[in-house]
Every structure is written in C-alpha cells, then in structure tokens.
Amino acid sequence: MEHIRAINDLVVRFANVNGTGSASANNMFAKAIFRMGIPVTPKNIFPSNIQGLPTWYEVRISEKGYLGRRDGIDLMVCVNPQSIARDVESVKQGGYFVYDNTKKLHAEFIREDIHYIGIPMTAMAMKHYSDPRQRQLFKNVIYVGALSALLDIEMDVLKGIIEGQFQRKQKLIAPNFKALELGESYVHEHFKYPLDIRLERRDRVGDQILIDGNTACALGAIYGGATVAAWYPITPSTSIVGAFEKYASKLRADPESGKRRYAIVQAEDELAAMGMVIGATWNGARAFTTTSGPGVSLMSEFLGLAYFAEIPVVLVNVQRGGPSTGMPTRTQQPDLISSAYASHGDTRHVLLFPSTPKECFDFTAKAFDLADRLQTPVILMSDLDLGMNDHLSPPLEWDDTQQYDLGKVLNADELEEMEQFGRYLDVDDDGIPYRTIPGTHPTKGSFFTRGTSKDEYARYTENGAAYVRNVDRLLKKWETAKKYVPAPEFYQKGNNHSHGLIFFGTTTYAALEAMELLQAKGINLDAMRLRAFPFSDSVRQFIEAHEKVFVVEQNRDAQLRSMLINELDLYPKQLIPILNYDGQPISADTIEQQIIKKYPKEIKEDDVHQAPVPAS
C-alpha cells in the first residue's frame, strides 16, 4: 500500500463529539507543534449546538509557513461513531485512520488504500479513571499521547503545556501526564513508530504568537481606549466582549478603588447595542459593539443615523455564512455589501479588512481613531475563521508615544473665542465638520443631533439646496477618508504581468499559497491585498495596469467584485470572480484550480489538474 512520506507538512483532522472536552486536548496538540517551532494552523469546524453533535478540528502543519486550508487529510483521529463513515472517506490515499477500537470497526468502514491504527481509548479511560467526566476528558488526552509517539511530538513540550494550563490546579497535572503516557506506551507496544508522516523540531515561528482574531480585536479595543462596550450575543462574535471583559478587569480597574474604567452592557438586542454605542460616542467616549451578519441587518437603521448625523461608531462584524440565519458556525465573507451600504438612503460606511490577528488588533485600535477623525461608522470586517480560530501571527505591538486622534472636537476655550458654532460647517474644506461634546460650555456649542435633514447649523430644514449641500459634503468626506484608511498591500515589485490577483481578509493565506502553486505551473500573477473601503487610488491603478484581474472572495455573488466595478466604474469583464462559499475556509487548491480554468494561456490539462477536488 502507498505510504505518504512527509516531514512537517501534513493535515491532521480530529473528529469529536461536541461538549466532550476535546477542544482543550486538540489545542494542546496544535500548541505543541507551534512550540516545536513549526508553523501550524488549527481550525474548528463545529455545529450550532452545545452537546452531542459532530465537531472537527483540523490542523494544518506546514514547514513552509502556508497557513490556509489545504485539501486532503493525511491523518484522521476519529473518536466519534456518528461521523465515522464520512471520516473514513475523507482520508487521503495512503493516509492514516486513528480510531477507538474499544469496539471493533465495522467491515464497511475498511478501505484498502489507507492505514488503520486502533487504540482502545475508551477501554483505557474506563480502566484508569473512575470519575465519569474524567473518563471522557482523559480519553482525549490519551489520543494526544498516542499521537506524540506516532508523529514524534516532544513529550516534554506536551507536559510543559499541561503544567502551564494547570498552574492553579496542580492536582490535575499528574492524571493528565498519566493519560499522555498511556497513549504513548500503547503505541510503543503495538505499532511501528514514528510514522512516515511526522514532525521535526524547527525554528520557523520566531517570535510569533498563536492567537485568535477575536481576542486580538478585544485587545485592540482596550488599547484603542474603548470605555463602553455594548453588545448582544451572536456567534461568531461573542468571544470578543468576553475577552474584552477578561483583559479590562485586569488592565482597566482603578488601582485604588478597584472600580471599572469601562462599562460593558449586554443589550436587549443588536438595535439597542448600536444605540448605546451612538449615545456613548455622541457623549465623547470611545465605544464599540460586535456582531455578525444578522446583527448588521438589525443595526442598519442606527448605522444610517450615525452616518447622517455624523457620529463615530466602531462595529466589529465577525462574518458567518448567510443569508438569514444561514450557517451560523461556518465561515464566509458575505456581508460586504450589506455592511458597506447599510441603511436606507444614500449611505456608505468605512470598512477595514484585517487578515491576521495582528491586524485585528491594529485595525480595531485604529478604527477608534478613524471613527473619531471621520465622525462616521467604521466597520471591521473579520470572519469566523479569523475570529474564532487560532492563527500564527506576528506579536502585537504598541507604540507608547502615540496619542489617540480624537478628531475635530472643540473645547470650552475654543468655543469661547468663536463667534458662531456651526456643527455641520465645512470649515477645513475636507468635508469633516467640528463637533462639540455635551456639557462643554454653558452658552456655546449646544446643538440638536438629528436624523432629519438639517442645515450647517444643525437646524431642521426641508430646503432642497441645504439638503444637497449636506449630502455632497458627506461625499467630500468620503474622499477624505481615502487618505486615512489603510492602503492596500502589494506582493510584487511592480505591475509586471498581464493578470492580477486581488484578495482580502482570510482569503490571503490561501491566495498567497495558490500564487506559489501557480508559479510552479508557469502562471505568474501580480497581487494586491485590499485592506479598506473606500478604495484608494492605488486600487484603481493596480486594476488598470492589468488586462484581467482575479478577485478572490468567500461569497456566492462576488460582492467585492461588484463593489470594485461600481465604485471605480470598471468594465465588468475585466474582473474575474474566484469564489468559495461552502462554509469552509477557502483553500489554495480551490483558488489554483479556478484560476487555471479561467486563465487564457494554453496549459495542458494533465499538467495542472493534480490536486484533489475539495470536500464540501
């Protein structure tokens, strides 16, 4: 039978039942590889359910540092009888199927072209542990122990992780060690080890960290000076406020009184959450909310108010599969249009597209500056993959000399010297007016904030000319915004090739890998990663410099492509959509295959079509 041989280049998938504590064992597995200096990307594939349904954890290990999803599973650890048929099927030819053989594997699950490694995990857990919950938990640690022998994971590293995890619950260290050793010795006694796919210590992660995007967003909000967080629970955004609370309770308590320098309000719904943010920022605090697609729909009315009344807002949209309730626990990038143009009337909102946890941190902190500077909503477009999965990321950085940019806010002295304050006067000819915070001056600077049409002095008006002046100034402000938002990033020395590639957010990992795969096949592309909407002039220049441009995104309707065409007035056929919307993070193979199909050069079929068809 075929044997896959690979060092530090494999995909391992765990098939578990949700609610059985497998997550912490699986995290330990990924972290151990990370600590062995090997780049690793774990992904949770979980149901919208609390207990009892199938859940998977997929770990891509890549010495070359490819961090996107890759199709094909080299080793499957299956401890879930419900999903066993599917799990057996998904293993690559020549791959390995590690399973719990406490009960004999049914003949129909035997494939001739893969290797089976049976470990009696349940029986061992029953024998060595008496508490029912412990039996369930340590079954998971037993398979990690077995994998340490099979894949050559350093036992000391695993034990170090356990020691770190149970610093405050020392009693649990010994039984965890025992479970690891049980698994390890079972492999030692029954199988040839290590396998031909295995790991070797490297020094390829440097000072990077392994962190999820939601935690990084939360830290960005703390460093960016957010004091009011208003939110309503919705997967996959929920853990942002959880992390904000965790860090704020340590970092933002008044050292003397212990009182909080922040307020977290769990609102009655997304509408109220957005209302609270608007109230707080109107009052001069930095405030934010977090949600996912359905929440953006509910917040739309208020987003329109914030746009029209020019109130700063920071919203983190951790996107999930839509439309409607959609696929709540699967990833997509389906809210580009609904976020960019949220609300009725002529509206448009600033979007930021982070692609790493470090950018989640940087962009969230920056979003507060942008929102205050531009006096408008700024929406950070994360997604489930970036937000909820751990990613290898450059460490988070903060420059202690930097100051918050609170934008054009008049203080009492400035108001005192002013003849007449006009809330919506374009004093600086950049479309951004000056604002005042309630309570600043006894007789000057008060005005009425409203969602109705108004003149430069915030007075209600139905005068058509005044209305046009106002909405045209908002367009001028939109132009100004282009100077402030993060510029796109380029992956070439110049525009050297006929075809370009555009990607953003979590399509980045797979797109960069696909570029290398394509290069090996003679297809060379220039590439640009978008980091914000509005699109700056360099975006237009990049597109205009290429005959055709592939636009990679994770939604059915190629929403980014539509936005580019509409906003930059492009010829639609110039932009070729490359799409994936099955709820799994896009893989390099998918991008590679779609580009090959749509690339005009004559390339022989045989040369290119080697990668397996993506499982969906």
């Binding site: 960290i209 392994l210 000076g225 009011v228 208003a230 009655e268 109107w282 309570g439």
Partner: protein
C-alpha cells in the same frame, strides 16, 4: 400664529440661585398645534429646571420620533439635544449615560414611541435603572401621522378616521411598577402644580424616573368620548397625594398641616413632601402602589401623582461599579495599558 420669538428680555427678570433667568431655559418656538398638551409639559420642564437651578449645559435632552419627540427643541436651547430614531431613545440615553455620569439626562417620548415600537428599549432601560428622567407625553394617538389609535388608547376609543380600538390599553405606569422601576409617577399636562414638583423630584432621583403624563391631542383625540381628552381627564382625576419638592439645603418654609402626610428623603438631601395621602397608600411601598392603581382603574379614575419611589435606588453606574470620573474624560494614561503589558500578553500566547 407666531413664527419668531423676540430675543429681548427684561433686564430685571428674576434670577435663580446660579444667576439664570427663566428665559435662559426656554427653547425655540413650538410648532405643535395650538393648545397641545405637550407645550404645557415643555413649560413645566422649563419651570422645574429654572427652580432647581440646573446649569442648562449640564443637562442632555433626548427623544425619539413623534410629536412628543419634537418638544426638546422647545425647551432648554443651551442643552445638547438628540432626536434619535423611532422608539430607540432609551438605548442612546443608556450609552450616553454610561459615557458621562456627570450630566442630567432628560428623555422625552410618546405613547407610540414607548408603548409600541420602543417597548423593548423602554422596558430594558427601566430594568437597568439608567439614571434619567423619562417623560411620556401620552395622548393615546399617533398625532404626527394624523390620529391613528396608539397602544395606550382605551378599549372603545375611536381614531380620527373613526376606527374603534378593540385592544386593551398598555398602562406604562403599571408596567413600570411590575418591572421594578424605582420612581414612578403620573400626571396631567393641565396640572402644572403637580407636574412641576414631580419633574423636580424625578430629576433628583438616582435612577430611572418615569413620568407618564396624560397630554391631550387637541387636533385628533380631544373628542368628548376620548379617555385622553381634557374634559374626561379633568372629570376623572384622582391623586395619590399632593406633592411638594424641597431641594437640598433649602429651608422648609411651608407649614404642613398634621395628618395624612409623608416625607421621602432622597440621596442628595432633597425632600419630597406628600399631603392628603390616599388611603392604604405609602409612597415607598410598591405593593400599595399596584393596589391603588388597580382600584383606580376599576373606578375609571385617572390616578396621578407620585405612585412609587425607592429611596434606596441603585442606578446603573453603581450596579456596574464604574469609576466616579466620567468615562468620556479618561485619556491614554488611564486607558491604555502600554507596550510592557502587551509584551506579557504576547508571551501568554506562545
């Protein structure tokens, strides 16, 4: 009809303790219908703020959408105002209050804005005990869209177009009492003697203070058969007590007759004096308020006055344990943990 308000003020107008004349608390000229109850409530707000010597810029006025929500333009022009979207003022007020606990928040809403589209936010602002005054200008109809019945209209009420309401009225006061509101009062726009001290007491109360003010709509709902008309309310008015409000440090000059009276002392030292108490009613006993309200309903009375006050009210900031200093005044030094702390955080993710 007057369109322009003269700016001239008599130089010797009386001033309050902080040197402001009553005119300093006024706003733009009202564009509501002549005789609208809402204008009387605006006048009562001006009067109360003047007498309480509130610095106008230390008060924020917020509203939703509807005739009632237009009124903040007609009082306190030196205060910042926020005319939010329909039914969503409570969330704006909650966020604003979280950001700056140092201002006085005055929310103005209507029966459509609070009892229908904004019911969810109204209920949750009460639940959180947001420190604000919440006045509902309650006329039982949608004035700005020409007289449809609202959710506070009584069964049998006729809309301007003649449609009969078949559904029971939502009683905001009863609802608030059930929800655990810490200050609940009801009044009538035509009864300034009662309304002014009620507003003053509400402003001094630390927590959510609801004032449901029946305010007849002269254009669409002042018909003889309407239970929200001037004539009907006047004929059915009953009060829990007469009310007088004495602010902190002000000497009590009135002599109150002995008998059925009560005094409620507020956190800031001010006192609410209540006279001619209704039988079996105690202002700090929620149970007695609920009972009294039910009895009044059975007798078709419009029960007004202070219905309930919790003298131990803990407002949202106390429940959230936030710092005394308003959050909107904190800057980098207090908010940003700095690079050293971040390095430790990085290390925890390796």
């Amino acid at each position: 009809m007057t369109y322009i308000k003269p700016l001239f003020r008599h130089p010797e107008l009386p001033k309050n303790k902080i040197g402001y004349a009553k005119s300093d608390y006024e706003g733009a000229i009202s564009t509501l219908c002549a005789g609208c109850g809402h204008d009387s409530i605006s006048a009562a707000i001006v009067h109360a703020c003047y007498e309480l010597s509130i610095e106008p810029h230390r008060l924020a006025k917020l509203s939703g959408i509807g005739c009632s929500s237009k009124t903040p333009t007609y009082f306190l022009s030196n205060s910042h105002g926020f005319n939010a979207v329909h039914g969503r003022m409570p969330s704006i007020a909650t966020g604003a209050n979280m950001a700056n606990r140092g201002l006085i928040y005055l929310g103005v809403s209507g029966d459509g804005d609070s009892a229908s589209i904004g019911m969810g936010q109204f209920v949750h602002a009460i639940r959180r005990n947001v420190n604000m005054v919440y006045i509902v200008m309650n006329n039982g109809c949608y004035g700005l869209t020409k007289g449809q019945n609202s959710a506070t209209a009584d069964i049998g009420s006729l809309s301007k177009g003649g449609a009969e309401n078949h559904y029971p009225a939502i009683d905001l006061v009863g609802l608030a009492l059930e929800l655990g509101a810490t200050f609940v009062g009801r009044s009538f726009s035509g009864d300034k003697t009662q309304l002014v001290p009620l507003i003053k007491a509400a402003m001094s109360h630390p927590g959510f203070a609801l004032l449901d003010v029946v305010s007849p709509c002269v254009t669409f709902n002042n018909k003889p058969e309407s239970t929200k008309s001037y004539d009907y309310v006047r004929a059915h008015l009953e009060a829990t007590a007469t009310i007088d409000f004495v602010p902190e440090k002000e000497e009590i000059t009135v002599n109150y007759p002995e008998g059925k009276s009560a005094h409620v002392k507020l956190h800031d030292g001010s006192v609410i004096h209540l006279q001619k108490l209704a039988p079996n009613w105690n202002p700090t006993d929620r149970h007695s308020a609920v009972n009294r309200l039910q009895e009044a309903k059975m007798k078709n009375e419009v029960l007004t006055g202070l219905l309930y006050i919790d003298p131990d009210s803990q407002e949202m900031h106390e429940l959230e344990n936030t710092v005394e200093q308003p959050l909107n005044t904190l800057r980098e030094a207090e908010l940003c943990p700095g690079s050293e702390a971040l390095e430790k955080i990085n290390a925890s993710f390796r």
